[in-house]
């Protein structure tokens, strides 16, 4: 997907002007946000669980090579085949080769952010393999020709009304309006696709080193049908999804469901180990696991290592006031919200994604709800440091900051400058107590008055008061 992260401000402007989108985003607050609060509040050990989740992930990242070796050995022991992909292009090529070996014309897919990250669907389509998304949200945005706008609810930016129109256009027949009827129609259409598919592609929420298992989580059961029905199952996933033991995976699953949707547990959690064995009733005959790096191994040991703890729950965006105003598409690439503001620059470069780490008030709500305690504001600040050090921020901002820094490090000059600033602002707006316009501050005064200074600075007034012998 061609990133448009550089245009975040314009993208956000359009989003703010779009009442349908705003209505859809409003639902996150009353929906997932509230549900997460209830679920976290109902579990006394939730905060401890977050510590444990963080520690599990930290441990894995400290021994990633060992766990990857152990995991892949177990996968092959179970009859699966492991494919290492250094970058997106390699991963795409591997998947296409596997599809060709399986003589695949259509593939079903359950939701995978890694597939989005490597741009799998357009690539398959360009090579005459038809991917069919089976997660309802992904199916909707596939029909609409849009990228996901949220980790968990890829179509969260759309209203039911828009989905009615979309289904009517693509499925024909009567225009359905009721939610249950729309879901029923999608289910009918997709059932046929599951049976037709030659290959099923899934992602994975967790990879379990001790057993070589992959774990997928859905609320629709679509991952099970995607991986279980076709002859070949390809799981496309990334290296940081490893956990040492099944117990660790279940600790993280308890955090994931509560943080994402406020559920105690997702409706379907499937543990899959290797292809179908002799004695199994069903399952794929071939199982391929594509393990993507795409820059992740470079993040290990870097200032951004903590980002690799992310379990893709979406809580950070559900609680981010900037995301809730701008929506996911404004972020201009696959990963959105606070986690996207840290990850997107890793993948598309800080030059392209420069607005994202800056589009935050550092209010800290994302970190407050992150199930694995990723210090998202700190990581966004790291990107700002990178931008500053590489002189990527606009010259006006740089010079302004340098001038301010020069003055603020010289207390006497600072006193003089603040005294003058106060005097000037009082001339501009003192009598009304506020200014409607202020030179160089249009960003503020476009929509807000600027309260005027009360009078001399505190330091001046304090000196005077002290001088008067109080």
């Amino acid at each position: 997907m061609q990133p448009t992260s550089h245009a975040f401000k314009q993208n956000a402007h359009e989003a703010l002007e779009n009442p349908v989108l705003q209505e859809a985003l409003g639902g996150i607050r009353t929906g997932w946000q509230a549900a997460r609060g209830r679920a976290a509040g109902a579990l006394p050990e939730f905060e401890q669980l977050r510590d444990t989740g963080r520690d599990i992930k930290n441990h894995v990242l400290a021994h990633l090579d060992l766990y990857l070796e152990a995991f892949t050995a177990k996968v092959e022991e179970a009859g699966g085949k492991v494919h290492w992909a250094r970058d997106a292009a390699e991963a795409r090529t591997i998947v296409l080769e596997l599809c060709r070996e399986a003589d695949a014309r259509t593939v079903t897919k359950s939701k995978s952010m890694i597939a989005e990250e490597i741009g799998l669907n357009p690539w398959l389509e360009a090579n005459d393999v038809k991917p069919v998304e089976t997660d309802l949200g992904e199916y909707i945005i596939q029909l609409a020709g849009q990228p996901p706008s949220h980790l968990v609810g890829p179509a969260v930016h759309m209203t039911k009304d828009e989905v009615s129109d979309l289904f009517h256009k693509h499925h024909g027949g009567e225009r359905l309006e009721e939610g249950g009827a729309l879901v029923g129609e999608a289910r009918r259409v997709l059932r046929q696709r599951y049976l037709e598919a030659d290959v099923g592609i899934t992602g994975a929420n967790f990879l379990v080193a001790e057993t070589g298992s992959i774990i997928t989580v859905t609320n629709e059961g679509n991952a099970e049908l995607t991986q279980g029905l076709p002859r070949t199952h390809i799981c496309i996933t990334s290296i940081e999804k490893i956990v040492p033991t099944m117990e660790d995976a279940f600790t993280l699953l308890r955090l994931l469901a509560r943080s994402a949707t406020g559920q105690e547990f997702s409706a379907y959690t499937t543990v899959m180990t290797g292809p179908k064995r002799e004695e199994d009733l069903d399952g794929p005959r071939e199982f391929h696991l594509v393990l993507l790096d795409n820059g992740r191994s470079k993040m290990v040991g870097s200032a951004f290592q903590e980002m690799l703890r992310c379990i893709r729950c979406g809580a950070c965006m559900n609680h981010c006031p900037v995301y809730l105003a701008a929506g996911g598409h404004a972020y201009g690439w696959v990963y959105v919200g606070p986690m996207g503001s840290v990850l997107t620059p890793q993948f598309v470069g800080i030059e392209e994604a420069h607005p994202l780490p800056n589009a935050s008030t550092f209010c800290g709500r994302c970190e407050e709800v992150c199930p694995v305690r990723i210090p998202l504001p700190k990581l966004m600040r790291h990107w700002r440091e990178e931008q500053f050090n590489r002189q990527l921020n606009p010259p006006a901002a740089r010079y302004g900051l340098a001038l301010w820094g020069f003055v603020a490090r010289r207390p006497r000059l600072y006193r003089l400058a603040t005294g003058m600033a106060v005097g000037a602002m009082r001339l501009l707006g003192g009598r009304q107590g506020r200014m409607r316009r202020l030179p160089l501050a249009g960003g503020w005064t476009g929509t807000r008055d600027m309260p005027a200074p009360q009078g001399p600075t505190f330091m001046q007034a304090w000196k005077k008061r002290r001088g008067a012998g109080s």
Partner: protein
């Protein structure tokens, strides 16, 4: 023996520039609580603008200056959760790797407090002598709330203000959209955020909104006044100190007929 603690007031840039009455209210509250207040003359800014703009070198240098300036005092008190958070949380991060400064930064950080939490948690102040007739709502500024866990302290003292009825607004813990330079870099998103805050204030039915950070207060006041709202905006310290002579933020005082 003089047991009254020697407290340095770190005024903050915004209070110094825009609203000295908050500084004087802080002095009054601290003195009433039995502190000996001093205002170190060489103080400037905590360095947060540099820190959050990615200029770590300038932020670090300013942290060193502030630590050196403030380390002689028993406590450092700041009428802002955001600036107090900078001193308390981020200085030890900035100077943590510097053998000469790490311990000094930590020592100052431990003795640095936001004003209202200092009064309640350290000086064990239980009530204040102040009067304000009317309904008041309190906005939890982000850094104070999340970095310093300030939530019950201002409410506890506000409940002892005579005549004051404290009502909670919806989402009092959601950011007002100020965010330092964010509000001028992303004015549209910032305005959307402050509009939601304004709507929550309106729904609460309060005639006055309070907070502990002047940045947030100026943002909320600026939007309220632009929209023609009569809601008064004040720093919590002014109310707790009973210092209500100064017109509320963004008002000239000539409004009342």
């Amino acid at each position: 023996m003089n047991t009254s603690p020697r407290v340095a007031l770190f005024v903050t840039c915004l209070v110094d520039l825009f609203r000295p009455s908050v500084g004087f209210a802080a002095v009054k509250l601290l003195e009433r609580a039995g502190c000996q207040v001093e205002v170190p003359e060489a103080q400037t800014c905590c360095g947060q603008p540099a820190f959050n703009s990615g200029d770590r070198a300038t932020a670090t240098e300013m942290a060193r200056r502030a630590v050196a300036l403030l380390e002689p005092y028993d406590h450092v008190v700041v009428p802002s959760g955001s600036c107090a958070g900078m001193l308390r949380v981020h200085y030890p991060e900035l100077l943590g790797e510097d053998p000469e400064w790490a311990d000094r930064a930590r020592a100052v950080a431990e003795r640095c407090h936001e004003l209202v939490s200092f009064l309640v948690d350290v000086m064990k102040v239980e009530d204040v002598e102040a009067v304000l007739e009317g309904r008041v709502t309190y906005h939890d500024s982000c850094s104070g709330l999340r970095e310093l866990k300030i939530r019950h302290q201002p409410r506890r003292l506000l409940e002892t203000v005579e005549g004051l009825e404290l009502v909670e607004m919806d989402d009092s813990e959601v950011c007002c959209g100020f965010g330092g330079t964010f509000c001028v870099k992303y004015p549209e998103i910032s305005t959307r955020m402050v509009d939601e805050k304004v709507a929550a204030i309106d729904r609460s039915g309060a005639g006055t909104v309070l907070a502990g950070d002047l940045g947030c207060l100026m943002n909320m006041a600026g939007r309220l006044k632009r929209l023609g709202s009569a809601v008064e905006v004040r720093h919590v310290a002014e109310v707790l100190a009973g210092e209500l002579d100064a017109p509320s933020i963004g008002e000239s005082g000539s409004r009342e007929a």
